[in-house]
């Protein structure tokens, strides 16, 4: 059978747009592996934006800051192995302001109880539950996508990443 082709930091082949009418920019076309390979570790680079909602591409390398959001977020590992550690804060709702949106970066690990951790490989998805602190740890470089809402740490650099 024909092999299933996945991408990686080391190996990806970006597609293309053949324009008949209009502009390539209308499609905001990028490649998450290319974006992650050119970004500092854990920069939350926006690669998809639908009004306030975003998909971010992150280069996983070493330990990330501790993060939290007032709503559920999700992560899918697109390359490499990443462990996610979780802390339930002692004071519920203390990490990200109620009704706030997007990911907050915390100043170190918050006070609270360890909830445990999940070990993710390529193609694995985990929930980043509302109100819970989480940290990504990766021994080797990898790539994550995060489903969230545009937040204070989301980086938009469309000119640098999109086909034009």
């Amino acid at each position: 059978m024909q092999q299933t082709t996945f991408g990686s930091l080391e190996h990806f082949q970006k597609g293309s747009i053949e324009i008949i009418k209009g502009k390539a920019e209308h499609y905001a076309f990028s490649n998450i592996y290319e974006v992650a390979s050119g970004a500092p570790p854990y920069q939350k680079t926006v690669v998809g934006k639908n009004l306030k909602f975003v998909i971010e591409s992150l280069r996983a390398e070493g330990d990330s800051p501790w993060y939290a959001a007032a709503h559920d977020e999700f992560v899918v590992v697109m390359d490499g192995d990443v462990t996610v550690h979780y802390i339930k804060p002692d004071v519920a709702g203390s990490l990200a302001p109620a009704d706030s949106e997007g990911t907050y970066t915390l100043d170190g690990a918050p006070q609270g109880k360890s909830m445990g951790y999940v070990k993710l490989g390529r193609g694995h998805q985990a929930i980043l539950p509302a109100g819970v602190a989480y940290q990504f740890r990766a021994a080797k470089p990898g790539v994550l996508i995060v489903q969230t809402i545009l937040g204070p740490n989301s980086v938009e650099k469309w000119n640098d990443i999109c086909l034009q």
């Binding site: 597609g15 209308h26 999700f74 996610v84 070990k119 993710l120 809402i149």
Partner: protein
Amino acid sequence: MMDMSTLPQNVRASQPDAITGYRTFQLGHFEFSRDAYFVTVKWPAQGTQHSHQMHADAFLRAMMRDIAWGFFYGWVNFDEVLGTRNHYGKVDLYAGSFNASYKAAGVDFLEQFDTPVIMATFKAIMKDWVNEGFDPFAAPEETGTAFGAKHGDNVAAIERTRIATKRMPGLEGDSPLRDDFPVNRQFNDVAQDEPEIHAEPGFEKELHAFNLFKYLSRSDVTWNPSVTSVCKESLFCPTTEEFVLPVFHGNDRVEWFLQMSDEIVWDVADKNTGEPRARVTMRAGDIAAMPADIRHKGYSQKRSMLLVWENATPNLPKRYESGELSPYPVQF
């Protein structure tokens, strides 16, 4: 004897044809009939009758998606002439309304129906026209033929619907994982390992992870976006794709595609006229927006994994139509 017992009350159908065995259906001023090879649709325009034909297999694959998706978002074009537009409670059925030539000639026709009425009719058509051995949800290599006179049915295949997920599959009280489904023949090389979850006592129900690629490798249908994560109105709806998207989808909002494996080529055309605009080739890791003013149809030579990303906020169609929102999601 006409057997009406299996037809809902609001479905208008003929007796089975003596030669082909298929019923003919009326929906408002539209008529749908099929023979061994073709589906024929008729409608009134300019005081006369106009008609259109599609290959039976292409028609049934398109109608299957429209039913399973509950008329989806915006326009579901079966081809360059026939299609539906979802108004979420009501549905337009049209012929030529989004085809520049039909529109200019004034031979287009559009009629609006309450969703339950058009849904019941579409389901009755599928029940009658899908023969034993043909699965309109499958890729051509995976299933039998749609052609010939009526022989049996495949009700089980056509009763599959879009999976509804509240938060994430596998969570307690949410949609199930797919461990009971076999791995698709074209995903035999996809790793089936699950993430390791090490929850501290008391947090077993809060930590959750699963192998999304494994889940997709076991999808038993093609081109059927199904929700796997919910961040307010942001929905990840991945799906497995093979052969051709059976419809030309014109969305009433912006949507995004992230190619998770292999390759898809998208034909992109003007939503209103059908004029070609672009061909977008997406390989693993590529992400691209589908603007709100286009229609698109995908081609996937190998079964591939695609993340379809939707914003399900209800008021979006009006905001795009009024011009409040640009059809392009980002300006740079």
